[in-house]
């Protein structure tokens, strides 16, 4: 059997780890934060989230293109919160999710510190949404497709601009067949923070719980709709899915539509009205007027 490696290459994309570690050390030493949340080498060529609490732990921090899991989810985990204030080693997708969380009042000013590297290799220490919004566009890797997320080019039926609805539907139907409803996608998504997910509310039971074709289709359509204009395309959901369903493409498709229709992009500003719940007199739809 070939060694099973996740869908990523492990190519180093950050050479300036030392600078990041140094700033992290300063923050720990000064007591500004009690934990640094980052990534470390895991088992069998995988990476894992890493919670450094002592200066000597910092040696283990790494950052490369395998680091897809969005660390923002830990800011809502009780056991991690209990460790104290956190500094998070930040990638552009993570910063996008923080901005979007701030826009939805789910990130409070200076709740955490984010350490990012700019293109000159300088360490940026960010804690307000404003600071993040100010630098995000200039960070390396912040534009274009994020490295290891499944991209539409690999799937002709989905390639940008494809209007072949039938082919698209056939593709997704087949993909969703494999969904086993573990909800790992939801658990890994920084934007899936609802205390009670739509799929868990049963009065009425909006979405079938069972993993049959219809239930899966309804689950994914509902999730996609709920993330429309909110998904920041970090790819964590696809990375987490044990069935290898390229979920972020669904969400990205909707994100593109939202941008076309409303000129809005999630994860770009902390002041973003939710496109699907805001009405304005200038909306094109006649039903509003």
């Amino acid at each position: 059997m070939a060694e099973t490696v996740r869908r990523t290459s492990g190519q180093t994309v950050v050479n300036d780890m030392e600078a990041l570690r140094q700033r992290a050390r300063e923050l720990l030493d000064a007591g500004t934060v009690q934990v640094i949340i980052g990534y470390a080498n895991g088992s069998n060529r995988r990476v894992r989230p890493f919670f450094a609490r002592r200066p000597e732990d910092l040696e283990r921090l790494i950052l490369d293109d395998r680091c897809v899991l969005n660390l923002a989810v830990y800011l809502r985990k009780p056991e991690v919160k209990a460790l104290g204030k956190a500094a998070v080693i930040a990638t552009p997708p993570l910063l996008r999710s923080i901005l979007q969380l701030a826009a939805e009042n789910h990130y409070q000013e200076s709740e955490a510190v984010f350490l990012a590297l700019d293109s000159a290799g300088n360490v940026l220490e960010l804690s307000s949404a404003e600071q993040i919004a100010g630098v995000l566009g200039s960070l390396p890797g912040s534009t274009g497709q994020d490295a290891c997320v499944p991209s539409a080019d690999r799937m002709p039926a989905l390639s940008a601009g494809s209007t072949d609805r039938q082919a698209r539907f056939a593709f997704w139907k087949q993909e969703f067949e494999r969904c086993i409803r573990c909800y790992a996608c939801r658990a890994a998504c920084p934007m899936c923070y609802c205390e009670q997910c739509l799929v868990d509310s049963n009065q009425p039971q909006w979405i079938p719980v069972a993993a049959h074709s219809i239930g899966n289709l309804e689950w994914h359509i509902s999730r996609a709709m709920h993330l429309a204009g909110r998904c920041v395309n970090c790819g964590a959901c696809s990375e987490a899915c044990p069935a290898g369903i390229p979920l972020n493409l669904v969400n990205q498709f909707l994100a593109d539509r939202i941008q076309q229709e409303f000129g809005q992009k999630a994860g770009t500003s902390a002041k973003l009205d939710y496109a699907l719940s805001v009405f304005s007199g200038s909306d094109r739809e006649t039903f509003i007027k």
Binding site: E79, I180, Y183, A187, A211, A240, I245
Partner: protein
């Protein structure tokens, strides 16, 4: 050793064809989705059977489907009629399992058959023939040999095929059902010669002392900080349970319109926050570290202890045949945050309390 035969590798397609002609449904690992990782699905001649890579999800759905209709009913005014015949299952060959998977099915069976026997699982197993292949290679997440199995283990298989050279398999007929299958494929199987009895097997080192895990767990339970540290990264995503060949937690759900409907048994996981949540809002396992602890305790302490009780004193203390884990390594491979199980069990075995 059990009765044996020899089978040429190139005869496999003809064997599958014969089985299909005989009305057998064949479920085998075949590449799926954009990533092409193998997935147990109905045999599709367009695809090839992938015996190299481990499937992401175990073949347990062959006996314990993701969704199973356990009841169908019709409502007519105030009347309710429960309908449906005996469980109907098609004769099926689960083809291309690994020895750990087959062993996992055995454990799954014992979970469902002890106490109140489950007719659905029983009927499915009765109609299913398990054809497993010995492992000629293992990856660092495999630990079958640490939990009582092995790359050439026959437990749970009806037939076990092992490579002996590049062109031949040694076929071990483990059960009468396996024998029937060999008879269906008459003409393809040949007597195995003396020189054809040595299986080529992967070397799977023992990764941790299971006896220490078993003895240390009960006392470790109360060390909250230990579990918190072990599961700091755990997302509670349940992937580990859903990919596992033995995890068998389920939910019962009704789906109906005004006239008729059904009651469904759906996979669930003790790792989900809602799993134990009371209607009052009280949750006996309110944080993820408790749910991670439950996962480990259930597999490596509660199940073995219950198994011993149920079967009297037969399997001795420390016996691995009652564990809730066969060491397939799927949970480690699929966990999005690399909560490697070998690593965690090793930490348990090495803990000093």
């Amino acid at each position: 050793m059990s009765e044996t035969r020899s089978l040429r590798k190139q005869s496999i397609p003809s064997l599958l064809e014969k089985l299909e002609q005989n009305g057998q449904r064949i479920i085998a690992p075949q590449p799926a989705g954009p990533s092409g990782t193998p997935w147990f699905t109905d045999l599709d001649r367009e695809r090839h059977i992938d015996l190299e890579q481990m499937t992401a999800v175990s073949p347990k759905s062959g006996l314990f489907p993701v969704v199973e209709e356990i009841l169908r009913f019709r409502k007519d005014g105030k009347q309710v009629v429960i309908e449906g015949d005996k469980v109907k299952v098609q004769p099926t060959v689960l083809f291309g399992l690994r020895p750990c998977d087959a062993r996992g099915l055995r454990i799954l069976e014992s979970i469902f058959q002890e106490g109140e026997p489950d007719v659905f699982l029983r009927e499915r197993r009765a109609a299913t023939t398990v054809v497993a292949f010995s492992c000629t290679a293992a990856d660092p997440d495999c630990f079958c040999t640490s939990v009582g199995g092995g790359p050439g283990d026959t437990e749970g298989s009806d037939l076990l095929l092992s490579a002996i050279d590049d062109d031949h398999f040694l076929v071990e007929i483990v059960t009468p059902k396996g024998k029937e299958l060999v008879e269906l494929g008459a003409g393809l199987f040949e007597p195995a010669k003396e020189s054809e009895q040595t299986k080529v097997l992967a070397a799977v080192p023992v990764r941790f002392p299971i006896a220490d895990v078993l003895t240390k767990l009960p006392a470790l339970f109360n060390l909250e900080s230990f579990w918190q540290e072990q599961s700091l990264a755990c997302l509670g995503c349940s992937t580990c349970a859903f990919v596992c060949p033995i995890c068998s937690c389920f939910d019962l759900e009704d789906e109906a319109d005004l006239k008729c409907g059904s009651r469904l048994r759906c996979w669930d996981s003790c790792g989900q926050r809602l799993f134990t949540l009371h209607a009052s809002g009280h949750n006996p396992r309110s944080v993820q570290s408790q749910r991670w602890r439950q996962r480990v305790m259930h597999k490596f302490s509660y199940l073995p202890e219950r198994g011993r009780k149920a079967r009297g004193s037969a399997p001795a203390e420390g016996s691995t045949s009652l564990l809730g884990c066969v060491g397939c390594g799927r949970c480690s491979r699929s966990c999005p945050v690399d909560m490697n199980l070998i690593e965690r069990l090793t930490a348990i075995a090495e803990s000093d309390l």
